[in-house]
């Protein structure tokens, strides 16, 4: 028992010294870039409206941007975790939609959910590790959640079932949301071999194995197909 304890302490000290010897910021490393385009299935900007049979009038139909995807590397080197740009971002509730519809953040980031609508909203997620229920609150008020667990967080309004958004929480900074035509670029990835992946609510794309070398820029395109 005592011997096992001593070995554990020695192993811990060894690991600590190795980590301490590594550079503090990934920018100090040899790094390259990856860029490309994500081709998404054609999508119309409609929300997920349940048939409003029990309503006395037409609910608000607001177009939403579901055409964006997130490109990210699956596992990052140790030094990538040293200087995470955790901060504070907003996910507005406006015209019975979440704006933006897709957020990508690093762990430790706090997301504010202000309500700009004249009616109450109830922001909710049952995602494993990131579940929360902000309760009902009116226009002009905001609630916030700090995300400490990596994962995909589907966000909905418990009152208005057609309101949805996605928050992708990463434990490293090597991810990006595509622009309106699907282009993306991830800069300053430390040299090495990685798996590059795409997340899209519209479908799935094959992951790609990439090797980053110092000062180079790789072009990698994806094709998302409906699940």
């Amino acid at each position: 028992m005592r011997r096992r304890l001593i070995l554990s302490v020695l192993a811990g000290l060894a690991a600590t010294s190795v980590l301490a010897a590594m550079p503090r910021a990934h920018a100090d490393f040899k790094a390259g870039n990856v860029r490309g385009r994500v081709q998404q299935p054609a999508v119309t900007p409609h929300g997920e409206y349940r048939p409003s049979v029990t309503d006395l009038g037409q609910p608000l139909h607001t177009p939403i941007d579901r055409s964006r995807a997130v490109v990210y590397i699956d596992a990052a080197p140790r030094q990538a975790f040293d200087a995470l740009p955790a901060g504070r971002v907003r996910l507005d509730q406006h015209n019975q939609t979440f704006e933006p519809h897709l957020l990508a953040i690093t762990v430790g980031t706090t997301v504010d959910f202000p309500n700009d609508d004249p009616m109450f909203h109830n922001v909710l997620s049952l995602a494993r590790g990131n579940s929360f229920d902000l309760g009902r609150y009116p226009r002009g008020q905001s609630r916030s959640v700090r995300f400490d667990t990596p994962g995909i967080v589907p966000v909905v309004c418990d009152i208005h079932a057609h309101m949805s958004a996605y928050i992708l929480v990463f434990s490293h900074p090597f991810f990006v949301i595509t622009d309106e035509v699907g282009r993306y670029a991830i800069p300053n990835i430390p040299s090495g071999t990685y798996t590059l992946k795409v997340w899209s609510e519209l479908g799935a794309a094959d992951a790609k194995r990439i090797t980053i070398t110092d000062g180079t820029t790789l072009d990698v395109d994806f094709q998302v197909v409906r699940r």
Partner: protein, 401 residues
């Protein structure tokens, strides 16, 4: 099919929840949408008190139900909506079929025509699944009184004999078939006609002209009568909403009226005056409704009465959510009836139906956003009938998309 078996079958998909859709199914351009709700409730059998039986000939605490809802929006300002419903002891029914038209895109003003949702009260538009925080249905919308639209008492004593027998009341005039009585307001059968609705951030107004009565919505004309109904509500910034509503319509079938000529001026209308309120804030919801309902009932022979039969009902319910997935809810409610005087009960003034009180509590767990399990207990007290009080443990499974 036995309710237990139905519930077991309904529960089978739970382990495969990941494969179940959790959002409505729609075509590529979003103009056609299909939603569904599956629910199964389980409780002890009640073959004596019939506290939770509905005009669908089933027990609200022991039933399985499937609702398929569809919407087709060929134009941004025009949509067609429908609902197909199937459940224990009931055939597949087209429960809703109507057109919704918004004449001016920027106005929150809509006109709906067809078999349309009711405008009075608040519960009737959130009677299903996840919108109802408890397993049971409020007495006002579910409890079967001893009145029938197709059969009439000849005397007050005929009426008094049917106290607490709303499950199967029978009368000497009109139909002699076995059918259930009427709830004060039907939440599950919708009326046919046209309605208009306007709202802004603070006010919500709705009015309807349909062909049935609050307790007796119809598709086919049964008595040449019309129902008007309306509701006005004010939404306060703090999360408080208050509404008043009213309705008036002919509730007795012409076939029953024809069976015995009635004197001119005798009312055959049902009138509902109600108020509803809700407070929704944080993880709390508190709601309340109260209604005063009258039924004009022609009674041909002595002993008789001149005033319409009246009933008063109301409920207060509350729901609290915690830990994202859990909720607890409770409801307290009452239903009372005005007095009539016959030769029964020693000639004393007696409520024309037996008053009922009910308490219910439920705890719920959300397995996923669209799958919910609930368990609870409901207790009923009644001042009449063979069974005066009865409790029901309740279980419910809900799935919707």
């Amino acid at each position: 099919m036995r309710p237990v078996l139905v519930c077991v079958l309904l529960l089978l998909p739970v382990p495969a929840a990941a494969q179940l859709p959790d959002h409505p199914i729609s075509n590529d351009n979003g103009t056609a949408t299909l939603g569904a709700e599956v629910s199964g409730s389980l409780s002890r059998r009640d073959n004596a008190g019939f506290f939770n039986y509905t005009d669908y000939d089933n027990d609200a605490l022991r039933m399985a139900r499937l609702r398929l809802t569809g919407e087709w929006r060929p134009h941004a300002q025009l949509s067609f909506l429908s609902e197909l419903r199937a459940g224990t002891n009931s055939n597949v029914e087209l429960a809703a079929l109507f057109a919704r038209w918004r004449p001016v895109a920027r106005w929150n003003f809509d006109v709906q025509a067809g078999r349309v949702p009711p405008v009075i009260g608040a519960f009737a538009r959130r009677a299903y699944g996840r919108d109802n925080p408890l397993v049971g249905i409020p007495l006002a919308y579910q409890y079967l009184t001893s009145l029938r639209p197709d059969a009439l008492p000849a005397t007050v004593d005929d009426l008094l004999r049917m106290r607490a027998r709303g499950w199967r009341p029978s009368y000497p005039i009109g139909a002699n078939t076995d059918t259930p009585g009427l709830a004060l307001v039907s939440a599950f059968h919708w009326d046919t006609g046209v309605e208009a609705h306007w709202s802004n951030d603070r006010v919500d107004l709705a009015a309807a002209l349909t062909r049935g009565a609050p307790a007796r919505p119809v598709i086919k004309e049964t008595n040449h009568g019309l129902q008007w109904s309306g509701r006005a509500a004010v939404m306060f910034p703090a999360g408080f909403t208050a509404g008043v509503s009213g309705a008036r319509g002919q509730w007795i079938d012409q076939s029953a009226l024809d069976a015995r000529p009635i004197a001119a001026g005798v009312s055959t209308t049902q009138t509902v005056v109600g108020t509803d309120a809700s407070f929704e804030r944080g993880h709390w919801i508190v709601r309340a409704e109260a209604m005063h309902v009258t039924f004009g009932l022609p009674v041909a022979n002595e002993p008789s009465f001149t005033k319409p039969l009246a009933a008063d009902t109301g409920f207060v319910e509350s729901r609290y959510r915690f830990l994202s997935r859990w909720q607890v809810a409770a409801r307290a409610e009452w239903l009372t009836f005005s007095d009539v005087q016959g030769t029964l009960f020693g000639g004393a003034a007696t409520p024309w139906d037996a008053p009922v009180r009910r308490l219910e509590g439920t705890a719920g767990f959300r397995v996923t956003r669209t799958i919910e399990l609930r368990g609870g207990y409901q207790y009923n007290w009644r001042d009449g009938g063979r069974v005066r009080k009865l409790g029901f443990p309740t279980l419910q499974f809900l799935y919707w998309f």
